[in-house]
């Protein structure tokens, strides 16, 4: 019995030590929670510090997964929002007041997202929430912001076919990422496409769009394959790729599966000379986990790369690295998370208040020189005009731009301006 207690004591010591160490690093690596389960019981670490909100400050909500599977991607986005808030505060804040971020953890779990969102809107009295990443978490927060008439600023590219008066979509709509990419590939690479995606809503909708567009262009989809999230064996898919011999693989895989897919593709001796893979969910951050050597020569479609050549981006990248470390990289969702805070701040200045209806009205037509180039809020659908860019992965893990749209593209989430898209839901 004695030994039993001793064992428990030893393990709990290890546990507490690791939790403490995690806490110490929370500031720079961006995670501080011991586990998702624990987090639901007690308030998150950031939150336990007293947030002082008084007459001279404006509270805003940050709602991202800081634990769980999505923490990998979302902590960087949270960092970008914090950077923008710090910069705005240094310049005197908004309406002469200081912005006070209230950080909540969505724990990669949709019910937690909606519960935390209503906590932010009701208890903390915020009017704007910056957050969410997956479409599922956005859709969990959507009814909450609509009910309490709050605003959600969403930073990630998504499948489109959605519009809410209470959400500002700062990532690319399909016509700002997928549609131009397909067109470019058709013109420059080839007309037979192999569609590969993770098995959930974004890839399936995206592939529906691609299929319709290729029918219109006269291209061909040789095969469409979906793999479950977290799938790690791509040998059979690679056999199909050999059998069908496509010109292009349009890759909408998400998360870890990309590592397995690209590694096994390279092992099978298929390089970017044999078939071009264009990905829509692989940014600079993901390249580090996949390995630049197996991705070299393959393409991605985004609105922004760390290498994008604008003076604003130079400042942004150096500020980001200065704040969070030399080895950190930026990427499209990180950049969108950064500029959306500025768009909100300008809309608030314009409206003269943080009240939701006033901000929404003032937001239409607001412009900002973002790191990716000029962006503008489209008043009709609350998406953002942005430039489309196709980039090629280099051996150093960065992208080299091979094409851009030249000017910001008008967002069209429902693809209303494309005749071939009529049948898509």
């Amino acid at each position: 019995m004695k030994k039993y207690k001793w064992g428990i004591a030893l393990f709990s010591t290890v546990f507490i030590l690791s939790a403490c160490a995690a806490g110490d690093e929370a500031a720079d690596t961006g995670f501080g929670e011991a586990s998702a389960g624990e987090d639901e019981l007690s308030d998150s670490e950031e939150n336990s510090e007293e947030v002082v909100v008084d007459e001279d400050s404006i509270p805003v909500g940050l709602l991202h997964s800081l634990s769980g599977t999505m923490a990998i991607s979302e902590t960087s986005v949270r960092d970008a929002v914090m950077l923008a808030i710090d910069e705005i505060n240094e310049d005197g804040g908004v309406l002469g007041k200081e912005i006070v971020p209230i950080v909540e953890d969505g724990a990669s779990d949709e019910p937690v997202f909606s519960e935390r969102a209503s906590k932010l809107l009701q208890q903390d009295d915020v009017t704007a929430i910056f957050g969410t990443w997956t479409s599922a978490s956005r859709q969990a927060v959507k009814p909450v912001v609509e009910e309490h008439n709050g605003l959600l600023f969403y930073p990630v590219q998504y499948e489109g076919m959605e519009s809410s008066p209470n959400i500002f979509y700062n990532g690319a709509a399909p016509n700002q990422q997928i549609v131009p990419a397909v067109e470019w590939l058709f013109d420059n690479v080839g007309d037979s496409f192999f569609l590969l995606g993770s098995d959930y809503v974004f890839p399936r909708t995206a592939n529906q769009i691609i299929q319709a567009q290729l029918d219109d262009l006269g291209g061909e989809v040789v095969r469409e394959e979906y793999t479950p999230m977290g799938h790690t064996d791509y040998n059979t898919i690679i056999s199909h790729i050999r059998d069908t011999d496509p010109d292009v693989i349009f890759n909408t895989l998400n998360g870890d599966s990309n590592v397995a897919f690209f590694n096994q593709l390279a092992d099978a001796g298929i390089t970017s000379d044999d078939v071009t893979v264009l990905s829509v969910s692989v940014a600079e951050e993901e390249i580090r986990g996949i390995g630049a050597e197996v991705l070299e020569g393959h393409l991605a479609s985004w609105n922004y790369y760390q290498t994008t050549d604008t003076p604003e981006n130079e400042t942004f990248v150096s500020n980001f690295k200065e704040a969070y470390g030399e080895n950190r990289v930026t990427g499209d969702p990180i950049e969108a998370a950064y500029f959306m805070v500025y768009l909100w701040a300008q809309a608030v200045e314009e409206a003269g208040s943080t009240e939701t209806d006033a901000v929404r009205e003032a937001a239409a037509g607001i412009t900002f020189d973002a790191p990716n180039g000029p962006v503008e809020i489209d008043g009709d659908n609350q998406h953002v005009y942005k430039t489309v860019r196709i980039g090629e992965v280099q051996s150093d893990g960065q992208f080299e731009e091979v094409w851009n749209s030249g000017e910001p593209v008008k967002p069209d989430p429902f693809l209303e301006n494309y005749d071939w898209a009529e049948a898509i839901q």
Binding site: F11, H231, S239, V259, D267, G291
Partner: protein
Amino acid sequence: MSSVAMQIFNGISLGSVLLLVAMGLAITFGLMRVINMAHGDLIMIGAYVTYLMQVIFVQYIPEQFFDWYFILAIPAAFIIVAGIGMLLEFTVIRHLYGRPLDSLLATFGAGLILQQLIRTIFGAPNVGVQSPSFLQGSLEIFGLYLPFSRLFMIGLVIVCLGGLFIYLYRTRQGRRVRAVMQNREMATCVGISSRKVDSLTFAMGAGFAGVAGCTLTLIGPIGPTIGLNYIVDAFMVVVVGGVGALTGTVIGALGIGVFNTFFEYWTNASMGKVLIFALIIAFLQWRPSGLFSMKTRSLD
């Protein structure tokens, strides 16, 4: 024809991955009856040992020896993860023998601790490992492309299995292990220290998880939560093969690998998974204790 041959190879290669992943569990769960939910996380530690080995080589060893990091990482992963397994056995599991539900929860918790430890040390994002140059590319024969990494994994599985069989069936220590696992009281009566045997056996099971983690870096991602990707597969193989029977584990892994690959080839990846699970459920109706069940005279 060649695509069928290719699929057979793919099936065997998936089987070898499953077998690698399940071999450690066949010992800790199969032989020792510990529902070891930390198995996936031990695999994850093995992968991080490989990553660490690569970092050490990049920093301190001249570049021309870089490829050797992988060769060294295999025994290193075995030893380090076996050590962690031994510590886990000593602190938690030894108090929970014969209490499967408690050990399920305790090992699950231990797995979470390991995940958080790795997150604290290496950070939450995935890390990348570069395959050694001799395992890149593929062998081309008769119009088939056989990736070297897969051939290497099949070879490694055979070596590990051979080693394990010799250990269990040809050495004194192995005989002690089998004796304790079959009838603990009788074994202790004839003077075998069951404590020592438990500790070594669990460490060995963990060590094989480490080797699996090391080789999985060739084909998959490395992150703090990758254990979750493999834990279900590992249990599936051991249960189908028959708890306590190593031969069953081997045949179970190959069977699941080949069937899964063909189902996936004829339908798609999601459907393939559904079909393989349906097949397993049907199979377990027919043989509830798996392919091979160990018959003993113990009354447990």
